[in-house]
């Protein structure tokens, strides 16, 4: 029981680390820190850094949550925590 919950928690933390890494990259990374560099490129008429700051990061956020929901539902099943 203890081991099962520990292993579950560890996998959960691994997912969080990866997903929050992406979360940081698209917003603080592409939208702020590397904004100037990315502005040299364009996406659909919008400078890329500016696009990430005002559009792209938000789309990625939505996708991240739904990916997380899927991953966790699978994880719950694997460990018998689904109901």
């Amino acid at each position: 029981m203890k081991n099962r919950s520990k292993a579950y928690w560890k996998e959960n933390l691994k997912y969080l680390l990866i997903l929050l890494g992406i979360w940081f990259l698209v917003s603080f990374g592409a939208g702020i820190l590397f904004k100037e560099f990315l502005d040299a490129f364009k996406l659909g008429g919008v400078k890329l850094g500016f696009w990430f700051a005002q559009q792209g990061s938000i789309y990625v956020f939505v996708i991240l949550i739904f990916v997380y929901v899927r991953l966790m539902n699978k994880l719950d099943k694997k460990y018998g925590y689904d109901e």
């Binding site: 919950s5 979360w23 939208g31 702020i32 904004k35 659909g44 700051a53």
Partner: protein
């Protein structure tokens, strides 16, 4: 009704019709979904579907500030406005991944409930109650003001009458229905507000770029000019002496810190967190956070497009044009004092420039969304629709905040501290009475807005970031965090936030200007620093004091496992 009648109905008539229909709808829903128990009142009985909760959360979240204010702020700030876009959406990722599922598993009614139980201390609970009240009151005053603004401009009643009408409507469904009534009215309000936001955006996008999807139109070429809209706007802005629209004027470090403070603050706001207590299971909490952000993203990705359209339209309509040729909306907004034209060189021409000394036009950012359909010459019913949408946004957020205030008083103060053996019925009455009192206080602030409302909204986010977020995160992810650490962290977090805000916004403690900001971080971005301070102080103090008791550590073990929610809510 035939087309002729449709086309001659005035904006005011249309507004009465559309606002009237939506208000009748909200009241109908309120009567249908009355609350019968405290569980109904606080968390809608814990039986809301993830989709409905996602819609309600989106309406709860998107306030008068999001609906009316944000596109205007972006319009005038350009790239600087990105802090709101990323900040107010990125927070939901934190909420979904780090908070919502665990708090749902914990299964209590309020945020102070969690803090009080997890840190086995009524002091911690009281600190949390004070933060919750402070955050919610500063927020709700702004909503009431938004209601007043819409009423005064479109129904041409006095702002105060507008605030009172808004109070009565909110009172009706918040007091009667509690969380249950609020949830289902918010579902309706989301539909009204998103429709009202999208219709003019699509119209204007078509007009300006020929593309009906604003998110794509924003990057498109101007109809008939063969130049991209954003390039054109960059050019117009620099010609008038403003920074390039796509660059903004804030420093990178400040943009970084403000975005972080708004994200973390969003995830720490009690009226948002509490929404995730209303769904049946942990997996529903995760899913409804996803739905909530999806519904929010529709508005948040459209707003920057509206900002670009509105900014371009405004400059082209007013800059270097004769004052006497201005369209009707210009003088109507002048009457409200939200557009001010001061012909400094008496040439009858509007000189709209970045240089304060020769600029002759001041446009309040708050009017951009409301004025936009008129500036673009859209039909009257679209303009009325925007008014109804603004009201839906303001009322839904106000109701959510009032619920947090009333449950803080009736549950966290009366039930948990002053009168523990109060009956469920008695607590329900107390909850309703506190909701009535809260509406009255909010209405008072709506009619007599304190000057500091604008400044305090930043403070609300800063406080939530500096107090709740670290305490909750460590409560879940750091089993050894004890009450000494958590309380010290929250107190230091709040005090440092207050200190910085008072120093640089209210000129206390020696005051200071932009040049004196620590590391170039504005008060809006200081919530991030205060949050880091909270984490550091908590961890240091907890390592020198006793570990939390065994049963508390077991609670933490338990909330990390998603199954078995049923047992947790029936306490």
């Amino acid at each position: 009704m035939n087309n002729f009648i449709l086309s001659i109905m005035s904006v005011q008539t249309w507004t009465y019709v559309i606002v009237g229909i939506t208000f009748a709808l909200y009241i109908g829903i309120a009567i249908w979904s009355r609350a019968g128990s405290t569980k109904d009142f606080y968390v809608a009985g814990g039986g809301v579907s993830p989709l409905a909760n996602g819609l309600a959360t989106a309406a709860d979240w998107m306030s008068a500030a999001s609906f009316l204010g944000m596109a205007g702020l972006i319009s005038f700030g350009g790239y600087d406005g990105s802090v709101y876009l990323m900040g107010w959406t990125g927070g939901y990722v934190l909420l979904a991944l780090l908070l919502a599922p665990y708090l749902r598993k914990f299964g209590k009614f309020t945020v102070p409930d969690f803090i009080g139980d997890r840190y086995y201390s009524n002091t911690a609970r009281t600190v949390a109650v004070i933060c919750a009240l402070l955050v919610s009151f500063t927020y709700v005053a702004g909503q009431m003001r938004g209601v007043g603004l819409v009423f005064s401009r479109f129904l041409e009643v006095d702002i105060n009458t507008g605030v009172i009408i808004g109070m009565i409507i909110v009172l009706f469904y918040a007091v009667l229905g509690g969380m249950k009534g609020i949830t289902y009215t918010q579902v309706a309000q989301y539909c009204v507000l998103i429709f009202a936001f999208m219709v003019p955006a699509i119209f204007i996008s078509l007009l300006m770029t020929g593309n009906p999807i604003p998110q794509i139109g924003m990057g498109g070429d101007v109809v008939g000019e063969g130049v991209s809209l954003l390039d054109k706007l960059d050019g117009l802005s620099t010609d008038l002496g403003f920074a390039k629209y796509t660059d903004g004027s804030k420093s990178m470090i400040d943009v970084f810190f403000i975005t972080a403070a708004l994200m973390v603050g969003t995830a720490g706001l009690p009226h948002v967190i509490v929404r995730f207590f209303t769904v049946p299971k942990v997996k529903d909490a995760r899913k409804s956070a996803g739905f909530a952000l999806l519904f929010i993203a529709i508005l948040y990705t459209t707003a920057p497009a509206i900002a670009v359209f509105a900014r371009t339209n405004l400059i082209e309509t007013v800059s270097n044009k004769n004052y006497k040729d201005m369209p009707a909306w210009f003088s109507k907004w002048e009457e409200t004092g939200l557009i001010i034209f001061n012909d400094k060189n008496n040439d009858g021409v509007i000189n709209y420039l970045a240089d304060e000394n020769i600029n002759e036009l001041t446009v309040d950012a708050d009017i951009m969304v409301l004025a936009n359909p008129e500036i673009a010459n859209l039909p009257n019913w679209v303009i009325a629709l925007v008014a109804a949408g603004g009201l839906a946004a303001a009322l839904s957020t106000a109701a959510g905040l009032l619920l947090v205030i009333s449950s803080s008083v009736s549950h966290d103060l009366i039930k948990k501290q002053l009168k523990p053996n109060i009956s469920d019925k008695g607590e329900l009455i107390a909850a309703r009475l506190s909701a009535v009192a809260a509406v009255c206080v909010a209405g008072y602030f709506g009619i007599n807005p304190p000057d500091f409302v604008a400044a305090t909204v930043a403070l609300a986010f800063g406080l939530a970031a500096a107090s709740f977020f670290p305490a909750i995160i460590m409560g879940i992810f750091y089993k050894k965090m004890n009450k000494e650490g958590a309380i010290a962290g929250m107190v230091i977090g709040i005090l440092s936030m207050l200190f910085y805000m008072l120093k640089f916004k209210f000129d206390m403690f020696g005051g200071g200007t932009e040049a004196d900001w620590w590391f170039g971080i504005s008060p809006e971005g200081f919530g991030t620093v205060a949050m880091i301070l909270n984490f550091i102080v908590s961890i240091i103090i907890s390592s020198f004091t006793a570990d939390p008791p065994e049963e508390v550590q077991e609670i933490v073990e338990n909330i990390r496992i998603p199954s078995g929610v049923g047992k947790a809510i029936d306490h």
